[in-house]
């Protein structure tokens, strides 16, 4: 014969049998001990006279008892959402976040005909302590992640600013501020590169030294603004007349330099020069004035007319002087005997 009372009095779960009016029918030792009651003296007593229950807890307990009896299925109080129903001391001996034992309670039918149910009370305080701790740690971690993300964002923003500043500095150092063309520094770098490639692959390239004819007159008659506008338009024409692989630069005033990459022969260089001259010859409108501008071009070819930057530029300049002397609006290729 199994002695059920011995089992119910030795398990680590609170057992309380009551009716729908909260009259106590049975209380096991666990429950009595935690509620500081004598289990033998509670039978037949109203639960509310034995344990202090909050008014809202009494209402919700009665509601859940009704649910259990009607559905013949368990109802629950959970430590997670309800905390506790019975104010019992918990078994935690260290500092606890909870004043009372946190309880999961299952209300199961006992004797439906007499509206009796049994409450099974589980101590979940340790679990809730752990849960609270995890929640606290998770909140702190989330906060730390938020701070880290904010820092990363700031660093990324600073990096973007730095990259932009670097781009600006590079542009200022390598490009002409008026026309956006390559400046002397960049031209020097590109020419150096072409020379190295030329030696390595026996490749020819050309240097075109361009100078607008009578540009000073335009500046003097129409003003410097018009002169600047004309320089910008000339820059665009030069870009249109050359390939992407070529380099167009302004080296000061009305002087331009064009590096023509991979030139087959002198003829090719001359064709390009003529194309530039013909295009620039077309009327250009500046501040409602139709201008007829011409340009003179001096040319040198690598490696025939020089093997370094200075020599190639110097010889192109000499050829330019020759083109100017020949009446302007034309081109000349450097000749050793010029």
């Amino acid at each position: 014969m199994i002695r059920c009372d011995q089992i119910t009095d030795s398990i680590n779960v609170g057992i309380l049998t009551i009716d729908s009016e909260l009259m106590v029918l049975y209380m096991n030792t666990w429950f009595a001990l935690h509620a500081e009651l004598d289990s033998k003296k509670v039978v037949g007593q109203p639960l509310t006279s034995l344990i202090h229950l909050k008014p809202e807890h009494i209402i919700s307990l009665k509601r859940r008892i009704k649910t259990t009896l009607v559905l013949q299925a368990p109802s629950f109080f959970t430590a997670d959402s309800d905390g506790y129903l019975f104010p019992m001391k918990h078994s935690i001996t260290t500092k606890s976040a909870f004043e009372y034992m946190q309880q999961d309670i299952s209300i199961v039918p006992y004797n439906s005909a007499q509206n009796q149910v049994t409450l099974l009370v589980y101590d979940q305080t340790v679990l809730m302590e752990e849960k609270n701790k995890c929640h606290k740690e998770s909140t702190e971690l989330s906060r730390a992640i938020a701070v880290a993300n904010e820092t990363i964002k700031k660093l990324e923003s600073a990096k973007t600013k730095l990259v932009k500043q670097q781009e600006i500095i590079y542009k200022q150092a390598h490009y002409d501020s008026l026309t956006g063309l390559a400046n002397r520094t960049l031209l020097h770098q590109r020419l150096q590169l072409l020379i190295e490639e030329g030696f390595s692959y026996t490749k020819k390239f050309g240097v075109l030294f361009l100078d607008l004819d009578h540009f000073k007159k335009i500046n003097d008659t129409l003003g410097h603004d018009a002169g600047d506008e004309l320089l910008i338009k000339i820059s665009k024409i030069l870009l249109l007349c050359t390939r992407k692989s070529d380099t167009v630069g302004r080296i000061g005033g009305d002087e331009f330099l064009v590096l023509i990459d991979d030139v087959a022969d002198e003829e090719t260089l001359m064709r390009i020069a003529q194309k530039i001259i013909d295009t620039i010859k077309e009327p250009i409108t500046i501040k409602e004035n139709m201008l007829h501008v011409t340009i003179s071009i001096g040319m040198s070819l690598f490696p025939e007319h020089g093997a370094d930057f200075n020599e190639l530029i110097k010889n192109a300049d000499i050829a330019l002087y020759d083109a100017k002397a020949a009446g302007r609006n034309g081109y000349k290729l450097f000749k050793d005997d010029v």
Binding site: S60, K66, L71, Q72, P74, T78, S81
Partner: protein
């Protein structure tokens, strides 16, 4: 993996059974609230468990957060019931249950929603368990508030193959409390349920 589907006759039977359960649940809810409560005829569909999160997004995608309750039932008929409620519906029900017009705290809302879902779960699962002559024990339910944007971060539910999705629309007084019930079952349970329903 394709989701399990009920044929039209099985679906009708399931709908009828759930409807009867809803009737019992609504009557009890009305009694507890001292008001008339009506649970609408359920809309039922099935999805594969892999599509569960996508279904939540489809149903509650416009919300930032939602309440999710979970309750397992074990025994010869076993599975898990999940409910999803918008915070607005959860608060409305809480106010009705606790007869309060004021904003109630999170614990009250959670407790009220668990009480509601426990009633619907018990009514439905007991009914299904009865028709398959099975036995089941309900475990303690749990509730949590989830963030829609972080759905991928929550732990995946394992051990089930299919989900019966049931729209639960509860009318109480002037309020319409809309929730979504998900019954998670494995293939064996579903096949058994299907077999039994075929014979009804």
């Amino acid at each position: 993996m394709a989701s399990f589907t009920f044929n039209p006759s099985q679906e009708d039977t399931l709908k009828e059974l759930i409807n009867v359960s809803f009737g019992v649940a609504a009557s009890l809810i009305g009694d507890l609230l001292e008001s008339h409560a009506k649970l609408h005829i359920p809309e039922i569909s099935t999805i594969a468990i892999q599509d569960f999160d996508a279904k939540i997004l489809e149903l509650l995608g416009e919300e930032e957060t939602f309440y999710l309750t979970k309750q397992r039932f074990i025994g010869s008929f076993n599975g898990e019931v999940i409910f999803a409620f918008t915070p607005k519906c959860a608060t409305s029900f809480c106010n009705l249950l606790l007869k309060s017009d004021e904003a109630l705290d999170e614990a009250d809302t959670k407790s009220s929603i668990l009480e509601l879902t426990n009633i619907i779960t018990s009514a439905c699962i007991s009914q299904l368990c009865e028709i398959i002559n099975g036995q089941t024990v309900f475990q303690v339910p749990s509730i949590e508030k989830r963030d829609i944007a972080l759905l991928d971060n929550y732990e995946r539910i394992v051990g089930y193959d299919n989900v019966i999705v049931i729209k639960t629309a509860l009318d109480i007084e002037q309020e319409n409390i809309l929730g979504h019930m998900f019954i998670l079952l494995n293939n064996r349970m579903l096949e058994h349920l299907q077999y039994i329903m075929e014979g009804l």
